[in-house]
Amino acid sequence: MGVIWTLLVVASLVVAAATGRVADLTGAAAESAGKAVTVSLGLVGIMTLWLGLMRVAEEAGLVALLARAVRPVLRRLFPEVPPDHPAMGSMIMNMAANLLGLANAATPFGVKAMQELETLNPAKGTASDAQALFCAINTASLQLIPATVIALRAGAGSRAPHEIISATLLASACGVLVAVTVSKLLARAGRSAP
């Protein structure tokens, strides 16, 4: 990550020098840093709410119940995670929230899942196979109703703002398929290499 990050910054400087926009960089850096803090702090409210509810659901046995229902699929995807581990429950809640397009609820569940997976991680600080796979599935963005896009289309006066739903579902299913395949392949390649 250090290499990629440094490359991004250096590339920006080189391109900015070529396009004569070096003067814009200072402002952009300050503005982005400020925006990052706003976004992070914006997470605090929903994070607090859902982490609290999640704990109630855990104590009541609701999460374990849910985990049992989808266990066959998840066990195949994440063989190294014990089926009864709290990470399973959080991952399921995250995927369910994502499917329903509830981004606000999905993020806290996803964060919780990553933290739970970290407790199983033998090499702390280095992504485990399960963490990498979970993130890749998340970035493939499988959702039943792409609400934001539909709203944009309706706002732009579309005759059929919803007509893209099936196409979006198909395209993101391809994304999930590739995410799982590539993660599994790269995980295996990473293990056989020293």
């Binding site: 910054v9 391109v15 994070m47 607090t48 609820a105 280095t126 790269l186």
Partner: protein
């Protein structure tokens, strides 16, 4: 079908907000103290995400301000045009994994300029809906878990985005025609 799914989306959160404490009470859980116990990690998690998110968003902000993204879009145009990605939609391919707000801005531009029911409008809609702001997700998730070495997570996630976009071109072409 759509109406049903939308109703489910609208009802899901309120039902969970009411249903989880209710189920907890029925199971004899001390709902309020347990809620507070779980909720107290919320602030820490948010604060923990700040450093990685600042790092990622500053790098991406610099990249945007430098004009590198426009340059990349221009460079890709001759290759992707014949494959079914109109010039107006191209910036979306480059910006989507980097900035959620930026991507929605591009979609909005395409919808306004070419119409939501045009090929470009549909393609931009499907592309935006079937991919994620990958760098943001990775920064938040790995940041909250205290993970700094991402291993194959970044290539896998970016390939998933790419697959979603290629699939969007194919599917929109098949379902609606160009």
């Amino acid at each position: 079908m759509t109406a049903l799914l939308e109703a489910v989306s609208a009802w899901a959160v309120p039902l969970l907000l009411a249903g989880i404490p209710l189920y907890g009470l029925a199971k004899g859980v001390k709902v309020y103290p347990v809620f507070l116990e779980g909720a107290k990690d919320g602030f820490q998690t948010g604060v923990r995400v700040i450093p990685p998110l600042v790092a990622v968003m500053v790098a991406l902000g610099l990249l945007r301000a430098s004009g590198a993204l426009e340059a990349l879009s221009l460079a890709l145009a001759p290759a992707l045009g014949p494959l079914g990605v109109p010039a107006s939609v191209l910036p979306l391919v480059v910006i989507r994994p980097l900035s959620g707000g930026g991507a929605l801005g591009v979609v909005g531009d395409v919808l306004r300029a070419e119409g939501p029911d045009s090929y470009a409008g549909r393609l931009a809609s499907v592309m935006a809906g079937s991919t994620e702001t990958t760098f943001y997700v990775l920064a938040v998730y790995f940041g909250a878990a205290g993970v700094t070495r991402y291993r194959h997570a970044l290539p896998a996630a970016l390939l998933a985005d790419l697959a979603g976009m290629v699939a969007a071109v194919v599917v929109v072409g098949l379902l609606f025609g160009r």
